[in-house]
Symmetry: C2
Subunit: 491 residues, 2 copies
């Protein structure tokens, strides 16, 4: 029966002189393409390295550091997750390790380790397997759509060749450590690893993130094939990834489509009632986040809304109840150059809270489908894709124990005008009002439309939107505090 490993298991080799001849040409081309890639800076190249034991993965990586300009190559090898890494969703470490545009990142295993391990079980759990495959595919789709080109190398050879190579590694004192003590296990596992690799490759091989099997029995062949594969990747003009058909997360149903219009903008609260209740809810919140059960959870608060809706003041009413060691407030402005060099969600992954902690985002990843959409900073494709990517991102946080709450503080155009004028008059509030705010105001309906579409597409069961009238600041602040506290108490 023919298999994807047929060629590799015939253990093809390359004579030294032929290899040297090819190498000469390849190295020049590789460097030229790497520099073109670096100058163009339109994408990053992520090389994922996997394969059977003893196939020379480490040597190949060393070789790439020699053949490429190593200043623009970064290798990241993940071990078993540390306690610190486990305090976050596991994909965070993959996100943070992504190479910036123009550079090459080499990743050892980690992205595929859980999947390969499950597939190598005697009786893999089909649901778990399916979930891991799906998560991997979505992760790669997102990266490719965000200008991270991916190639996945599987280093392979026949069982006999593996035995020979392993014996050779054992015999050489400087490589014996690669084999380890129970090296017999390597051959015993050959079939299982082979089968698991086949299963994983079949289910995660896509046109935009392809697997390439590298025949590895012969050093020359392995080196040349790897270099050729990377050269081909550099040369690839564009990588199209299909838009996801499925929003990826169940949406809340039976919601009106124009939710901002449905709000009761008259809602308000008396000063005395406000002060009494504010204090009560702050107290309850303070107790809830100090509860033992919160140590294994985390809290992600997102504040969005029109300019001057009162996000800052609301956030301060929340933080009043919190210990400064427990929370961070993250103001989100336009991305900086080194952030632009990474996939859109990278800078938010950097700021997700660990277990037991709270992250408060003053504006957020929703900028993509609000300001970046309305002002044209993001392409239509990019912001349309973002709904799905954001749902997935939030789902991962929630699956790891985060409570994700998204607040939209809504005001009417009349109220905004009043506040803008107030701000202009107040000498210490005038910094809050800029020509940009007035420009945004003229786009009121475009922003409202973007917000409505955002609600419709990202109001998920796991991370709901809370849309509140903030025409009366006291009303909005109390509502926010109540909802956070109740959600924490329920969780």
């Amino acid at each position: 029966m023919s298999s994807m490993f047929d060629e590799a298991e015939q253990d093809p080799s390359l004579a030294d002189d032929e290899s040297a001849r090819i190498e000469e040409r390849l190295r020049i081309q590789l460097l030229n393409e790497q520099y073109r890639h670096l100058n163009q800076k339109d994408r990053a190249l992520l090389i994922i390295v996997a394969g059977i034991d003893g196939a020379g993965k480490g040597d190949t990586v060393n070789l790439l550091h020699e053949w490429l300009d190593p200043r623009h190559v970064r290798t990241i090898a993940f071990g078993a997750p540390t306690e610190e890494e486990k305090a976050f969703p596991l994909s965070r470490r993959l996100w943070l390790g992504l190479p910036p545009k123009g550079s090459v990142g080499i990743m050892f295993g980690a992205a595929y380790t859980p999947l390969l391990q499950e597939a190598a079980e005697k009786k893999p759990d089909p649901d778990k397997l399916e979930a891991l495959i799906s998560a991997t595919r979505k992760f790669e789709d997102t990266l490719v759509a965000n200008d991270v080109q991916i190639i996945k190398l599987w280093f392979h050879m026949s069982r006999d060749a593996q035995r020979k190579r392993t014996e050779k590694l054992r015999a050489n004192p400087s490589t014996a450590w690669q084999v380890g003590k129970d090296y017999e296990k390597i051959f015993k596992n050959f079939d299982r690893v082979r089968h698991s690799g086949q299963r994983v490759i079949e289910s995660t091989d896509t046109p935009h993130a392809p697997w390439i099997i590298i025949p590895s029995a012969d050093d020359n062949m392995r080196s040349i094939r790897t270099a050729q594969t990377i050269l081909d990747a550099f040369k690839r003009k564009s990588i199209k990834v299909p838009l996801p058909h499925n929003p990826g997360a169940p949406l809340k149903r039976n919601r009106p489509t124009r939710r901002l219009d449905q709000l009761d903008f008259e809602a308000s609260i008396e000063k005395e009632t406000y002060e009494r209740e504010l204090s009560q809810w702050q107290n309850k919140l303070a107790i809830a986040v100090r509860d033992k059960s919160f140590r294994k959870k985390s809290l992600v608060l997102v504040f969005e809304g029109q300019d001057a809706a009162g996000k800052g003041g609301t956030i301060r009413r929340v933080t009043h109840a919190l210990d400064a060691r427990q929370y961070s407030t993250i103001p989100i402005a336009a991305p900086r150059p080194f952030e632009m060099d990474r996939p859109y969600l990278w800078r938010f992954w950097r700021n997700v809270p660990r277990c037991g902690r709270i992250a408060i985002f003053d504006r957020s990843w929703y900028g993509r489908v609000l300001v970046e959409r309305v002002e044209g900073y993001a392409t239509r494709q990019a912001w349309q894709r973002a709904y799905h990517e954001i749902n997935e991102f939030e789902k991962q946080l929630v699956d790891h124990g985060a409570l994700v709450m998204k607040f939209w503080l809504a005001i009417t155009p009349e109220e905004q005008l009043r506040r803008f004028k107030d701000r202009e008059k107040s000498p210490y509030k005038s910094f809050k009002i800029t020509p940009e705010d007035w420009r945004n105001r003229r786009q009121w309906s475009a922003y409202a439309q973007a917000a409505e579409e955002m609600f419709a597409k990202t109001d998920t069961e796991h991370a709901p939107w809370h849309i509140l009238s903030a025409n009366d600041k006291k009303h909005a602040r109390l509502e926010v505090l109540q909802r956070i506290t109740k959600a924490l108490e329920q969780a």
Copy 2:
């Protein structure tokens, strides 16, 4: 007897109307100064917050977020160090938390927690106390010299006022958590905390990183004084920090002053011997870094030397023996803008290895006293100061269990010329040779002089320089491997 706390312990207060009048003016000035500071971007402002319990530190920080433009203010509160934080020198988390130029960072306690705790002991260990004081002063000197302005606020009041405030905090459900359950301890400790504060303030109050005592019994007084203090800090024109008199770390003695001239550039090794020994030493290295004892250590390797001295090839011979999960290679190029916004050593602190791991720097922090000195990228003051800062930095790594080894690969001008020409001829080495390399070559003696001064000033007992002839690459590679391995075996 008069004390630094006299005024604060008289619990001065400010009437509401007077406070409101001052506030109005202060807030405008504060914002104007913050924006000037932000536009000028010539320094960061670090505010360290400490003081007795119940003095309203948290409220003050909330207030600052309201009175300043909070997009350029970042509060960092450190708790007890996590396991992850303990895997690095403890000052790393302070370094990584530093605000960039133009912005304001507020730090709760952490920098002073160990010192305050020691000073609050019934019988403080005088040596430990002295060491902590000295470390704190050095840290602050370095920051100030690197454009981080520091002010340190001590929130204080009388014991009676503390009791009253604490009772009030307890009575208000939203603030009761600040007091905690054993609130009686707070008053019991008053004298001890006061005494410890006094001791710490006296020993760490410098003109360039001053302590300011904020009377805190009255909310108005506390707020206005804090705001005034920050305003004064913004307005301060320049902050001079004296150059350290003492290099800070014992140097190796009896070293010739012109060490490059003393090298035996004829040293070489036969190919067969080389290959045999290389493999042997790689094996020993592989075993040494896999030893259990290494889990509590770390290894920092620095590679410097003339262009084309063979750093990359030597590094690859080292990494050949290492598991990719255990090491990172960090190529150091010119700093990027967000790195320029922080003190010079910030970007290196980001890359120091955790326990059990290895960081290999291809060029390093020594750029400051080499290329930045010779090319004039750093001011004379900055590179002269750097010897001391670097010694301190390395000392901290070593004190935490790191083995720090610095290699200078030396070649003769003739050998460099030969290699440059080789590189130009080789189509896949030509990327390694740029007009800059030729320019640097014309500065040969300036670089040599800078290197000699660097050896003289940074060849410390705890982090020695290994200066090797690399005219024969094989000789240099073997020496490097041997020295690393022997040092690990001895450690």
